[in-house]
């Protein structure tokens, strides 16, 4: 996903001099080419996230389209008040990019586990929240968010599917993408954990269960229509996210179901309100915290019983 982001950023910078990228001293080797090609559109502010967002706001107020970049929580929590008071209140064109959503940097410890970011960023008025499920979505989202006059949050991970689910799939912020059609159960995911949903879908299919897999890459604004349509069809929804259970995708879907009084069952897969004191690969931690395809299958079977 990061490569897709850098690729799109490079294309944007080439076409538009007002595109400006700031890193808080992270991304070793990743932005060298960009920095060399666009020296007036690149800045490493040092390990200083609060100042990074302040500088970004100053540049944004003067008409630039700014990206700030750091790993996991440093891009958001460390400078949250600057994002709120400075960039968001002043409606600056800023895309806050956090590399390492969820347990991407699982081995590095809880400081590097971004597991509350969606909830926190979603609660800021006017801020759009996008957690792409695939590398292709990251590429598309980067472009669209740079055109958003206001603050956006882009949460990226490593790897991810490179191509759209169908040749002519259109990406729109706030518009869910149906990865697979199905009729018995809806699996709605945000972030790279969609791969676990696709794994589960295959296994469930072999068991005779037809699953609809939906990429809810945008948490805000939420595609309520997609939720209503899928829930009305299958009557069974599972949400999947590599994020704490409060305030993320599961909460957002539950709010929608309650708001429109939709007749369906809902089961949320998320982190059970803990900080991880253990480390491991993203795959290991997904399994450990019961977020992986095994858990999706179990939940699906329970719902359909």
């Amino acid at each position: 996903m990061r490569d897709a982001f850098v690729k799109q950023l490079t294309e944007l910078a080439k076409k538009d001099e007002s595109i400006f990228f700031i890193t808080a001293d992270l991304g070793f080797g990743v932005f060298d080419n960009f920095a060399e090609r666009f020296p007036n559109q690149y800045l490493n502010v040092g390990v200083a996230e609060q100042n990074m967002v302040g500088i970004a706001t100053g540049l944004g107020l003067e008409g630039r389209k700014v990206f700030t970049y750091s790993i996991a929580n440093f891009a958001t929590l460390r400078c949250l008040e600057q994002i709120r008071n400075d960039a968001a209140y002043h409606e600056v064109n800023l895309t806050v990019v956090a590399s390492g959503g969820g347990f991407t940097y699982g081995g590095l410890g809880m400081s590097h586990h971004a597991t509350e970011d969606i909830s926190i960023m979603r609660s800021l008025p006017g801020v759009e929240v996008v957690a792409p499920c695939t590398a292709w979505e990251t590429y598309e989202a980067t472009k669209l968010l740079s055109q958003n006059q206001g603050v956006s949050y882009l949460r990226i991970e490593k790897g991810g599917i490179q191509i759209p689910p169908y040749p002519n799939t259109e990406f729109e912020v706030g518009k869910a993408i149906k990865m697979i059609e199905g009729s018995d159960i809806s699996i709605i995911a945000t972030g790279g954990i969609i791969t676990e949903c696709l794994k589960a879908e295959k296994i469930l299919k072999d068991q005779g269960v037809s699953s609809e897999v939906i990429s809810m890459h945008t948490i805000k604004p939420l595609d309520e229509d997609a939720i209503i349509a899928s829930a009305s069809l299958t009557k069974n929804i599972i949400t999947v996210e590599e994020h704490n259970k409060y305030g993320g995708l599961g909460s957002a879907v539950a709010e929608t179901i309650a708001k429109y009084n939709i007749d369906c069952r809902l089961s949320c897969i998320s982190i059970d309100d803990v900080y991880s004191a253990i480390v491991g690969s993203q795959e290991y931690l997904r399994a450990h915290y019961k977020l992986d395809h095994h858990e999706i299958i179990k939940k699906a079977q329970a719902l359909l019983q």
Binding site: A48, Q50, G54, L59, E62, N85, H90
Partner: protein, 271 residues
């Protein structure tokens, strides 16, 4: 030149006293502390056109110590950005003239603040933007001494000199009283001047109530020097009202009844 700015400072003080009196709001001491700085900036230093508040060539001014916002509103009204009558709405129900300075709907306010340690980074970003675009306007940021406890400022201070932002001016309202008591007792700033100098800034110390000294320091052409400029303005919190001077009660208290009359009379007479 000083005569005009001295007149403006008096008006700022009187407006702010009335605004905080009517709104029953706090921070009159902090406002009186920077009334002269604001007056010198708006009368002698800043380039602007009140009919075109977003004019590209304007100098940018940020009040980072947002709790003195009433002083900025008063200065802007006196400089014809909006009607002086509007000031009476300060702090009232439904008003956009908030206790901490806010830009929404208020022409001339460059940036909203209220949480300390935000303004300088934003001013630094604006100064960087001007450099990148080869524009010649300057960017001014007024901050408080207590505000220098915030680590974010020191991130910006390091950044500004590293990037040779000689179009950036930080003015510190050094009145030696922060929220509860003095910086010396709270978190010592000294040696303050050499802190800024060691971070790569040019530093000038002035009497923050002396209009000629302030004007000279702020007019000094720093562009080309490669160094951002810090003006340490030695000030008196509550300046102009004898019973408010150097008394931190007036960081919070609103002048009512006799206190209001006495304060108003002192400011009108010009002690």
């Amino acid at each position: 030149m000083s005569e005009l700015s001295i007149g403006l400072a008096k008006k700022i003080r009187l407006h702010a006293l009335e605004m905080t009196h009517l709104g029953k709001s706090s921070h009159i001491g902090s406002i009186l502390s920077i009334a002269d700085i604001l007056a010198v900036l708006y009368e002698n230093i800043l380039q602007f056109d009140p009919r075109k508040p977003k004019l590209d060539t304007r100098d940018r001014f940020i009040l980072s110590k947002g709790h003195s916002g009433a002083g900025v509103y008063a200065a802007l009204a006196e400089k014809n950005f909006f009607l002086v009558d509007e000031l009476k709405k300060h702090y009232s129900d439904g008003s956009i003239f908030s206790g901490h300075v806010s830009h929404k709907g208020v022409p001339g306010v460059e940036f909203s603040t209220g949480s300390l340690g935000h303004g300088l980074s934003v001013a630094t970003g604006m100064a960087l933007s001007a450099k990148l675009d080869k524009k010649t306007h300057r960017v001014f940021n007024v901050m408080s001494d207590g505000e220098c406890d915030e680590g974010s400022n020191w991130e910006a201070i390091m950044f500004a000199s590293h990037h040779n932002l000689d179009n950036l001016v930080a003015i510190v309202d050094y009145n030696k009283l922060q929220s509860i008591y003095s910086p010396k007792l709270t978190l010592n700033l000294e040696p303050f001047r050499s802190k800024w100098e060691s971070f790569g800034w040019s530093v000038v110390e002035v009497d923050g109530h002396d209009h000629a000294e302030l004007t000279d320091a702020l007019q000094a052409e720093s562009s080309g020097s490669g160094k951002p400029l810090c003006v340490i303005a030695h000030t008196v919190k509550g300046k102009g009202v004898s019973f408010m001077e150097n008394n931190n009660l007036w960081h919070y208290r609103t002048a009512q009844d006799e206190e209001y009359k006495d304060a108003k009379k002192e400011l009108e007479d010009g002690i």
